[in-house]
């Protein structure tokens, strides 16, 4: 701290480690790293209070590249490690970096449990729809029929949708962004950082070696306005290069409408990330390319008690009520007798 009590002003450089970054040239992971390093110094949290936790995968090398505390744990277990850290030390800002394999395949259970408990952690799910580190097998987000090293005839596994899954686990914060739009990613990461509770972010990430162009439709600048829908709280859902298309509710389903010809913005769905019911979020999550533009931004941001807060409160309440325990009392519990 400075002598005036204020925090020192940090920059992205303060979060750069002395380790060589070992991702393939052109990998989308670089962009994510850059945006995280841009956001961290602005949060008013001392650098040593961050902890980054990951599992195993290309994405899970993340902690090595952020100059703060980090655990590169084992495959799939990052949310559980992070839960332990947060339960032990609620004062820390805990971040999880994981992949579509690490977080949704082997680690799917820890992910949904951290989410449903609303443990205050920020989860960056790097979705490249492939296993990068192990050189190109399909992942739970790979498209049905995809041909990969382990599916030469195409997969027979229907994919998981990370956003619907997190809604199913009743996540309090859900967002999606993409490596190709750094500004938006920065915004989303900041929003997640500011959220109290489990903040789940799906990040479309290009693996240019094993699954190049998986999100081409959304990343090519020219196509993006027509293939994505940028969500803004309280705003109508408009998209398209000329911002002339919108999403309207038809019964309980979304439909694309052309603005004009009597259809105005007021006819459109207005985004409401604070809606307690996740119905809208669910509807948005199911909007998939090419039928629909894919929503980007904050699907849902509601406020629920967090696991760590409740735990702290319980400890405090017990201590207030029972007093700080003394060992002698601990032993002298229940029936005792004395031998002279």
């Amino acid at each position: 701290m400075h002598t005036d009590g204020s925090l020192p002003v940090l920059t992205a450089k303060d979060f750069t480690t002395d380790q060589d970054v070992r991702w393939c040239p052109g990998c989308g992971d670089y962009s994510i790293l850059a945006q995280v390093k841009k956001v961290l110094p602005t949060l008013g949290i001392p650098r040593e209070k961050f902890v980054f936790v990951s599992g195993i995968g290309c994405s899970s090398r993340f902690p090595y590249y952020v100059e703060t505390y980090g655990v590169h744990s084992i495959h799939g277990r990052a949310p559980a490690v992070a839960t332990g850290i947060k339960a032990a030390r609620p004062d820390l800002s805990v971040w999880v970096a994981t992949g579509d394999g690490d977080g949704l395949s082997i680690g799917g259970n820890h992910l949904i449990h951290a989410i449903r408990r609303n443990v205050d952690m920020k989860i960056l799910l790097f979705n490249n729809r492939i296993y990068g580190l192990t050189k190109g097998q399909y992942s739970p987000t790979s498209e049905l029929g995809k041909k990969t090293k382990s599916s030469p005839f195409g997969t027979v596994d229907l994919p998981l949708n990370p956003i619907t899954l997190s809604i199913g686990a009743e996540a309090t914060f859900i967002a999606r962004t993409l490596d190709a739009d750094p500004k938006h990613m920065e915004y989303v990461i900041r929003r997640a950082a500011e959220h109290k509770g489990a903040a789940f972010m799906e990040i479309y990430q290009n693996c240019n070696v094993f699954n190049d162009g998986a999100f081409e439709y959304a990343t090519v600048k020219d196509m993006r306005p027509d293939t994505t829908l940028y969500l803004e709280h309280g705003k109508p859902m408009i998209f398209g290069k000329n911002r002339d298309k919108g999403i309207r509710l038809n019964g309980l389903s979304p439909e694309i409408v052309q603005l004009g010809n009597g259809i105005t913005e007021d006819d459109l769905l207005f985004h409401d990330e604070k809606m307690e019911e996740p119905t809208l979020a669910m509807m948005l999550a199911r909007m998939r390319h090419p039928e629909f533009p894919e929503p980007m931004g904050v699907f849902r941001a509601v406020s629920h008690p967090t696991f760590d807060d409740l735990l702290t409160k319980q400890v405090d309440a017990a201590t207030a009520k029972l007093g700080r325990g003394r060992l002698a009392d601990l032993y002298d519990d229940g029936e005792t007798w004395t031998v002279e």
């Binding site: 961050f50 100059e67 505390y69 590169h72 084992i74 839960t83 449990h113 002298d332 004395t338 031998v339």
Partner: protein
């Protein structure tokens, strides 16, 4: 009680008695067993108990699978086991009789609840004819007591108020009353308990009190029993005592260790028999700086504990066999990251789901070598219920001093079994010194720097300037950076092994009971201590010049183990497995250790050990 007129019965003094209550799981046998134990302990006997649950929650009433038992051994001298043979059995139904009567000594007492021996109950127990009538119990002193009827009679005044069901539920206290009379147990502790427990339901308290006293008076007045027994107070170390199970002691030990270390503790666990009670207990100690986390599975539990350790809190996880298997991979992470982690394994019958409620010692090799790669860690084992307290403190002490995971092995037998425990004086304990560095020496912080024992620094998040990253990939010594260098790998493999070996430097030497050298050493480990010690004592009392020693530190072994072994011609290793310590001893010391192995989900009987010892000894 004092109103009871003393009838003229023979009063016989005994040194040691073993009583077993058994009945259907719904019959409240664990409860009356506990009450009988408390009364005996408070009276001043030494006691040792073992509850035996069915694996099913509640198997159909009256079936063999549903039988629940509780055995108490109480005596006027030091005892270490619940007793080999049962001197008196109280059986509440035919199924209980059938599964338990074979453990009663010839000539022993068998009290049965006669009312439960109707046709359908007999059938459920698989009796073709009523064993009370067919002479098959002739080698016992059989007492047929219509417990249900007598109990109902005693409570008939209040039956209208509490209902027939509640009346029936009191029959276990009636049985307890009989046993209390027979063995001259004080009723007061139980009466106190009843009042405490049912304070808010005075009619229920009244009902149980009536049942208990009625049973007691029945013993007095029914002239059924020719003899009444007394067991004198034991000469125990003076002090304040309580009864403690291994699981309780372990929980108290962990709380104590956290206090001694002035460091909070997180216990992350997933319920599993017979380890769940540790979680139950610790979850009530929130005001002792203890947090608990009931994880979604064992892997989440151990990795959360690792996270807690990284965060500077004592991370502890606990489980039993199948859960232990699931933690295998994560224990490797703890070894590689060199974090202090305690992992408790309350062993149960295996393999696989096995015999969930039965005891066994068959996870030793898994604990010592059952991980991928060369993955050494510390393994220690508690030898009795009370010892779980001490070993829990040892576990935390070693883990934090050496920055190493410690597996603490106990088992279902000592975890659920109870013995009297003298309340320790917390101020007498040696503190556990924790050193979280606060800044880097000469500017550069090295996460894998080494102290004299090869421990690395436990730097914790929140400490400015010590930011660092660790993980499961091979580490460069000192810096802690990832390293794929062949020489460094060899160096670290050897270093991790040496660090674990170094633990022996702070361990107490193995002590030998009996002659310090000679023909036969009986070497045990873990929860078999009580039986082995008792058998060895008896053998010596019988004139056999044999010795015994008991290992609590399994990896590394105490440094004098090799020397101890060399001093004996033969080494006999009794284990509740197929010979796991024996394998380790043979591999390490190349001695032809003899195994005595029993894998039946049950502890050793003193008698069978004694027989084996005699078989391998010469009388002097």
């Amino acid at each position: 009680m004092d109103t009871v007129k003393q009838r003229q019965v023979q009063n016989q003094e005994l040194e040691e008695v073993s009583v077993r209550f058994c009945g259907d799981s719904g019959d409240g046998m664990q409860l009356v067993g506990t009450q009988f134990t408390n009364a005996s302990a408070i009276f001043g006997n030494d006691v040792s108990t073992f509850p035996d649950f069915p694996a099913e929650i509640r198997a159909p009433a009256g079936t063999l699978a549903g039988v629940s038992g509780f055995q108490i051994n109480f005596s006027s001298h030091d005892i270490h086991t619940p007793g080999d043979r049962v001197n008196a059995l109280i059986a509440m139904n035919p199924a209980a009789l059938k599964t338990n009567v074979k453990d009663v000594e010839t000539g022993g007492i068998v009290i049965v609840n006669e009312d439960a021996f109707d046709k359908s109950d007999l059938q459920k127990a698989g009796y073709a004819v009523n064993p009370l009538d067919d002479g098959s119990l002739s080698k016992y002193q059989l007492y047929r007591v219509p417990i249900e009827k007598l109990n109902a009679d005693a409570l008939k005044d209040i039956a209208g108020e509490i209902g027939a069901k509640s009346v029936g539920r009191c029959k276990n206290f009636f049985a307890l009353g009989i046993a209390a009379w027979l063995y001259n147990r004080p009723l007061q502790p139980t009466l106190d308990w009843i009042n405490g427990k049912f304070g808010s339901k005075p009619t229920i308290a009244d009902a149980n009190t009536r049942a208990l006293k009625a049973g007691y008076y029945y013993g007095e007045t029914a002239e059924l029993f020719p003899t009444r027994y007394k067991v004198a107070k034991a000469k125990l170390t003076p002090g304040k005592y309580r009864k403690i199970t291994g699981n309780e002691a372990l929980a108290l030990g962990l709380v104590t260790a956290a206090d001694l270390a002035q460091t909070p503790l997180l216990y992350a666990s997933y319920p599993i028999t017979p380890a769940s009670d540790i979680l139950h207990m610790l979850s009530g100690y929130k005001n002792y700086g203890i947090k608990t986390f009931q994880a979604e599975d064992e892997i989440a539990a151990v990795t959360a504990a690792i996270g807690a350790s990284f965060a500077g809190v004592i991370g502890v996880t606990g489980t039993s066999g199948p859960g232990m298997a699931l933690k295998t991979e994560a224990l490797g992470l703890a070894v590689m990251t060199e974090l202090p982690l305690v992992c408790v394994d309350v062993q149960r019958g295996g393999p696989s789901t096995g015999l969930p409620t039965k005891t066994e010692q068959a996870d030793l090799l898994q604990a010592v070598v059952g991980r991928n790669g060369e993955c050494p860690l510390c393994v220690i084992a508690a030898r009795s219920p009370g010892d779980c307290f001490d070993m829990a403190i040892w576990a935390v002490r070693i883990a934090t001093r050496f920055m190493v995971p410690v597996i603490l092995l106990t088992d279902g037998y000592i975890g659920n079994g109870a013995e009297p425990w003298i309340l320790p004086d917390p101020s007498k304990f040696e503190k556990i010194k924790i050193n979280h560095p606060e800044k880097a020496e000469n500017g550069d912080f090295h996460a894998y720097a080494r102290d004299e024992f090869l421990a690395r620094p436990w730097a914790v998040p929140g400490t400015k300037g010590l930011e660092h990253r660790i993980g499961g990939l091979e580490k460069e010594n000192i810096t802690g950076h990832i390293s794929y260098d062949p020489q460094n790998h060899q160096f670290m493999i050897d270093l991790r092994a040496q660090k674990v070996a170094n633990i022996a430097k702070i361990l107490p030497p193995l002590e030998v009971d009996g002659p310090q050298s000679g023909d036969l050493l009986v070497l045990g480990w873990g929860g078999t201590y009580g039986s082995i010690y008792s058998a060895a004592e008896r053998a010596r009392a019988m004139g056999y010049n044999i010795s015994n020693a008991h290992l609590q530190f399994m990896n590394p072994f105490p440094s004098n183990l090799g020397d101890v072994l060399k001093k004996f011609k033969k080494v006999l290793i009794p284990e509740l497995n197929s010979g796991q310590l024996r394998k380790l001893i043979r591999a390490e010391f190349l001695i032809d250790a003899i195994g005595f192995n029993k894998v039946q989900g049950k502890p050793f009987l003193i008698a069978e050990l004694l027989e084996k010892i005699i078989q391998h000894s010469e009388k002097r």
